[in-house]
């Protein structure tokens, strides 16, 4: 009994110390960057802090942000998913078609939302199977499905816009709760759930272990392939949710450019949020901040009248800076 008391009292100073040691700049760099960005934006443009602008930024962010949440798991486990943008279009088109087939009323919408999540998970599972069973590198496998999903979308829709006939559908993506848009709620609630999943469950611990060292994980009796596979399924499911949010907001999906470059935005959000592209470590809240940083930058470029053609350049530069900072802190 005595030793137990000793051990607890011994651990207290240790805990304190580590709490302090844990406050290193690298972990909080995304948060600091966000605060700096908000201050600069508020000074640079009087329109920035208007609530309507802020909710708009958050809404814009939420579509790719939701995908980035799933992508965080994929990247921490050591993978990458380039197919998410095309997958948004494919799931979006199929979902709207399903709603039109099911007809009016809320029931058909709820069924379609469920189907969208399942479809996304299914497409993610296809990616995951190719990667874990077929042993194709994630980069190549999802590069291939990126092309396949886009092409199937165009084929199914005959390259024409698919419009929902259900009058209620736009409310899903356009509605507000406590003057915050539904997609933003979905994004933040999902982020909270995913944070718990990553930090406080065995699954999350295993994802980090697999991404750090898959060999050690398998020698530790962890089902490595199953964990890796699951991250792609989770990634796909988040794509399904994002597809619903996006298509309901616009009440339609245009197969050629829906979800275009979403993979870039999602991966950028994850990397800016401090998750290592080499896998093994990262945080969900970092990804949320990363997504918001990207959103604010886009917003500011708009407010300040910078050519939209230059936005890609700025985004690219931000990614490079984020990775450089990670690299430095790792050294």
């Amino acid at each position: 009994m005595n030793t137990r008391i000793d051990s607890i009292s011994n651990s207290l100073p240790g805990l304190l110390k580590s709490r302090l040691a844990g406050v290193d700049l690298a972990t909080y760099a995304p948060l600091i960057a966000l605060v700096v960005l908000v201050v600069i934006s508020a000074i640079a443009s009087e329109h920035f802090l208007i609530p309507r602008n802020l909710t708009n930024v958050l809404r814009q962010v939420s579509y790719t942000g939701i995908i980035a949440l799933g992508m965080t798991f994929v990247i921490i486990a050591g993978g990458i998913d380039l197919s998410v943008g095309s997958m948004v279009a494919l799931v979006g088109v199929l979902t709207v078609m399903l709603i039109n087939w099911l007809g009016d009323g809320w029931l058909s919408i709820f069924l379609a939302i469920g189907a969208a999540v399942l479809l996304g998970a299914f497409f993610g599972a296809i990616n995951g199977l190719m990667i874990t069973r077929g042993r194709i590198a994630a980069f190549i496998a999802t590069l291939a499905t990126m092309s396949i999903f886009r092409s199937l979308t165009l084929y199914i829709s005959d390259a024409g816009e698919v419009v929902s006939q259900n009058q209620l559908y736009p409310e899903v993506g356009g509605g507000y709760l406590l003057s915050i848009p539904y997609p933003v709620w979905v994004f933040l609630l999902l982020a909270a759930a995913f944070h718990i999943l990553l930090r406080h469950t065995a699954f999350g611990r295993y994802v980090c272990a697999v991404g750090s060292n898959a060999k050690v994980a398998s020698y530790s009796a962890i089902k490595v392939r199953w964990i890796y596979f699951s991250t792609f399924v989770i990634g796909g499911a988040t794509v399904g949710i994002a597809a619903v949010m996006l298509s309901s907001r616009l009440n339609s999906v245009s197969p050629g450019d829906a979800g275009m470059f979403y993979e870039l935005d999602a991966i950028a959000a994850v990397v800016i949020g401090g998750t290592a592209l080499s896998g093994g470590k990262g945080t969900v809240w970092g990804t949320v901040i990363g997504a918001i940083i990207l959103g604010i930058i886009n917003n500011m470029l708009n407010l300040m009248g910078v050519s939209p053609y230059l936005q890609g350049t700025v985004k690219g530069l931000v990614i490079i800076i984020a990775v450089l900072m990670q690299f430095k802190s790792n050294k």
Binding site: S18, A21, T201, N213, G280
Partner: protein
């Protein structure tokens, strides 16, 4: 002060080296004469590797001086050492397997003609060099097609093409067959005749006695002696190397019970293990001896469900066990500490509790993972094993090898195993930690656990085991008990000179 003779080729004065406050070399002073073969002998963890890494510029000394021909030099990188004519033949070769022999030999040192690679000249030079070394390696052969011994020759040729004066060989014979060792020794003698100085690191007494002119013996980071080989016999060397009687390190062996707790029959893995069978008793330490590549690790991995088996039947306490996956093996009370602590054992960017609970994580789930409980448990292990770390939240990468090994041990003890397979449990750790681990193994057997120890250190096998199984090329050559457990008997079986038909 007047010196008549020229200064020695190389002088090491008061070299000290610390890692994170732990001193691993204590004021080592020695001289290296031109054209001699200097043996450096010591147990694992004695500081041999650290010393040679300092001499070849890979590590930086904490204190002391290095002189070459009387001039102080700064070996700040391996490139700096190479420029001074010091080359190291590492244990793990630095060859690029997808390039061929001559490309590797001239890597970073390419010969050019009109700004293009002069492959003809490089091939010719390589051929001459290899002929000179009396090896029949084709300069155009891909490295991946070569045997280990041939790769070593290529490494040596690579060092010679740069006109190295001092060649450091880090335990070059561990990966060689006895015939290949003879070829290597012939080569070393040739190099000596050509005036090349060779520093030969080993922990094998016979080899050193046979090959070297002088011998430096290290123990626990101190230079114990430096004298001509002719002054020492093998018993002297062993005494200086170990520095203590064996029974001080190894606890008294406990008496195993007659109950068979685990039995393996006809275990085979395609190409590496053939039809291994044995019984393991409660409270027993069963040693597995053999040369590197004897199939012992593969056998252990096959038991744990980490490798595909061609055949094999297991019984645990009389009950059949399929052991299809690592998870099933863990649930049946098996534990396997891999020889490759960093590559297969621990997640280096996880902290101590996260590593300890990785296999047994289910125990800590109260809806979510109970971090509090993880920390409490980790703290218990920290005290029980005397794990030295700044805090429990220290990442494993920042712990010393010995402390990592203790965390690894704790990780498997947390699965509450009954059968423990320890693969090279003391590789690369210091003598004190070794002793702690030996005593811990002994205390486990007292509690009735059964332990399999796979080790390449003969002393360890002899000091710990109640019985010893010797393997060679994937097969069991014999089982030794009692007084038969000695170095000679084990070597006879391991080398294939003896085989018991049981």
């Amino acid at each position: 002060m007047t010196t008549k003779s020229a200064p020695p080729l190389m002088e090491v004065r008061g070299i000290t080296k610390s890692f994170a406050g732990v001193q691993v070399l204590h004021h080592v002073t020695l001289d290296i004469q031109a054209g001699e073969v200097l043996g450096i002998l010591g147990e694992n963890g004695a500081g041999k590797s650290t010393l040679l890494k300092i001499l070849s510029g890979i590590y930086q000394k904490t204190d002391g001086q290095i002189l070459i021909e009387g001039e102080e030099v700064d070996l700040k990188s391996s490139a700096a050492a190479k420029a001074l004519g010091i080359a190291m033949i590492p244990q793990e070769f630095n060859l690029i397997s997808t390039l061929n022999v001559f490309e590797n030999i001239f890597l970073g040192n390419e010969q050019k003609k009109y700004r293009l690679l002069d492959k003809k000249a490089m091939r010719k030079k390589t051929r001459e060099l290899l002929q000179d070394l009396e090896t029949e390696i084709d300069p155009n052969a891909l490295i991946e097609s070569l045997s280990v011994a041939q790769k070593q020759m290529v490494e040596i040729a690579k060092a010679l093409v740069r006109d190295s004066r001092i060649l450091i060989m880090d335990e070059p014979t561990t990966v060689l067959t006895s015939h290949e060792v003879k070829v290597l020794f012939k080569l070393v003698n040739k190099l000596r005749a050509r005036g090349v100085t060779v520093i030969f690191i080993s922990h094998k007494l016979k080899e050193v006695k046979q090959l070297c002119d002088r011998l430096a013996i290290l123990r626990d980071g101190y230079l114990i002696s430096l004298e001509p080989v002719t002054n020492l016999d093998e018993a002297d060397m062993a005494r200086k190397m170990v520095g203590r009687e064996l029974n001080q390190i190894y606890p008294a062996k406990s008496t195993p019970s007659a109950d068979v707790i685990f039995s393996v029959s006809d275990l085979s893995v395609k190409g590496v293990v053939s039809s291994v069978s044995f019984d393991l008793h409660a409270g027993e330490v069963l040693g597995f001896a053999g040369l590197i590549g004897a199939g012992r690790t593969e056998m252990a991995e096959a038991i744990m469900g980490l490798r595909q088996r061609a055949s094999g039947v297991f019984r645990i306490k009389g009950q059949p066990a399929t052991l299809r996956t690592p998870r099933e093996a863990v649930e049946r009370g098996l534990a396997y500490l891999s020889e490759d602590r960093q590559g297969k054992g621990l997640i280096m960017n996880f902290d101590i509790p996260q590593n300890i609970t990785l296999i047994s994580l289910r125990k800590y789930i109260r809806g979510l993972i109970s971090r509090k409980q993880e920390i409490r448990q980790a703290n218990d292990y920290r005290q029980r094993f005397d794990i030295k770390a700044a805090t429990l939240q220290t990442h494993l990468i920042n712990l010393s090898g010995g402390n990592q090994q203790k965390v690894y041990l704790a990780k498997w003890m947390d699965t509450e195993p009954e059968i423990l397979i320890l693969d090279e449990p003391t590789r690369g750790i210091d003598v004190n930690t070794k002793k702690e681990i030996y005593h811990f193994i002994q205390s486990l057997t007292e509690q009735g656990l059964a332990v399999i120890v796979i080790s390449s250190e003969m002393e360890e096998i002899i000091g710990l085991s109640n019985r010893v199984i010797v393997m060679r090329s994937g097969s069991v050559m014999g089982t030794l008990e009692g007084d038969d457990i000695n170095e000679e008997e084990i070597m006879y079986y391991a080398a294939g000179l003896k085989k018991s038909v049981a």
